[in-house]
């Protein structure tokens, strides 16, 4: 359940970003999470809801957008999207790959009324 720790970090980042807003009515908090990051969206949502109760973020929705796992093959130089955790180029089978996306975990933006 490291989702709780991640949710706490998200709330801190959002509060920090809203420091200059007067009574912000936050509708959505958008976070982007790479496929390779072991975060369970439902758990994260549950934790976020739990810790924002009774705070200005209580009515906000946590939106989790997934970023696909993309690699560039160091052999054939092709870029592919990999669905599983098998680190092999789907085009040529080479295992020497460079990860382009999939490790992200960041707060993208906040939507306020």
């Amino acid at each position: 359940m490291h989702e709780m720790s991640i949710a706490q970090n998200i709330v801190e980042i959002v509060e920090d970003a809203l420091r200059d807003e007067v009574d912000p009515d936050v509708e959505r908090v958008v976070v982007k999470i790479g496929r390779l990051v072991a975060v369970v969206p439902d758990s994260l949502d549950f934790c976020f809801t739990a810790i924002t109760q009774g705070t200005p973020l209580a009515n906000s929705q946590l939106v989790i957008e997934e970023i696909p796992f993309q690699v560039r093959c160091k052999g054939c130089d092709k870029t592919s999207q990999v669905e599983s955790f098998v680190f092999r180029c789907p085009e040529c089978g080479n295992v020497k790959l460079e990860t382009i996306t999939g490790h992200e975990l960041f707060v993208s933006h906040i939507e306020v009324h």
Binding site: I6, I10, L18, A38, F85, F87, L105, H109, H113
Partner: protein, 216 residues
């Protein structure tokens, strides 16, 4: 409707403290290992074996992370090396700040090698950089040989895998070749050692690897 752009890494704070830890370790010339595994794979037993073999040659210290109790720290302190216990009180992983606080109880300048024994868990600790130089994941032959594909992130982020309890291979269905194939699919550059922390079998290669990373 107004959109406030944030673009901030969620674990930025942890990553920053981890970087501070790494700088501290670098300045003091300590090689640091984050030791990871599921509960019961043999982290503490491997540590005991490693310490008793390297003592006198390499100056070791240990940070013990546990959800509850100081049982592991007491086991390690019997070997007469500096040990600090972190009790997470329920948290399933160590974070960089907990390690930073624990470092206050160690004299890093007196150490060559520091082990941080993480909480037994193959999921959460993979996401938190502690400032270590290498992540070492321990798997054991009494677990399934499919552990790497069930917990891919842990095997993907690790630098070394120690397959422990090889003395028990005759009594299990564990397929070593299959296990190694799975780990290589997930992490082709992973270094694998096969050990029995209990009997000492295979320990020499693991110790040689450790010694090659410790500053002379």
């Amino acid at each position: 409707m107004k959109i406030i752009t944030v673009q901030r890494k969620v674990l930025k704070k942890n990553d920053e403290i981890a970087e501070e830890n790494r700088n501290t370790f670098g300045n003091q010339g300590v090689f640091v290992i984050n030791l990871l595994s599921s509960p019961g794979a043999g982290k503490t037993t491997l540590l005991e074996r490693t310490i008793s073999r390297l003592r006198g040659e390499v100056k070791l210290g240990v940070v013990e992370g546990d959800v509850q109790t100081d049982r592991d720290a007491r086991r390690i302190s019997k070997l007469d090396v500096p040990v600090v216990q972190i009790v997470t009180n329920g948290a399933c992983h160590l974070e960089a700040k907990l390690v930073q606080d624990a470092l206050a109880s160690l004299v890093l300048a007196d150490l060559d090698l520091l082990f941080i024994e993480n909480v037994g868990n193959l999921v959460c600790p993979a996401s938190f950089d502690l400032g270590e130089h290498k992540k070492v994941v321990i798997a054991s032959t009494t677990e399934g040989d499919d552990k790497p594909i069930k917990y891919p992130n842990m095997f993907h982020v690790s630098d070394v895998c120690v397959l422990n309890k090889i003395d028990l291979l005759p009594h299990t269905d564990f397929d070593t070749a299959q296990f190694e194939n799975f780990t290589r699919e997930i992490n082709p550059s992973l270094t694998i050692f096969r050990t029995s922390a209990k009997t000492g079998e295979g320990i020499d290669s693991w110790l040689a690897w450790l010694k090659s990373h410790v500053k002379k």
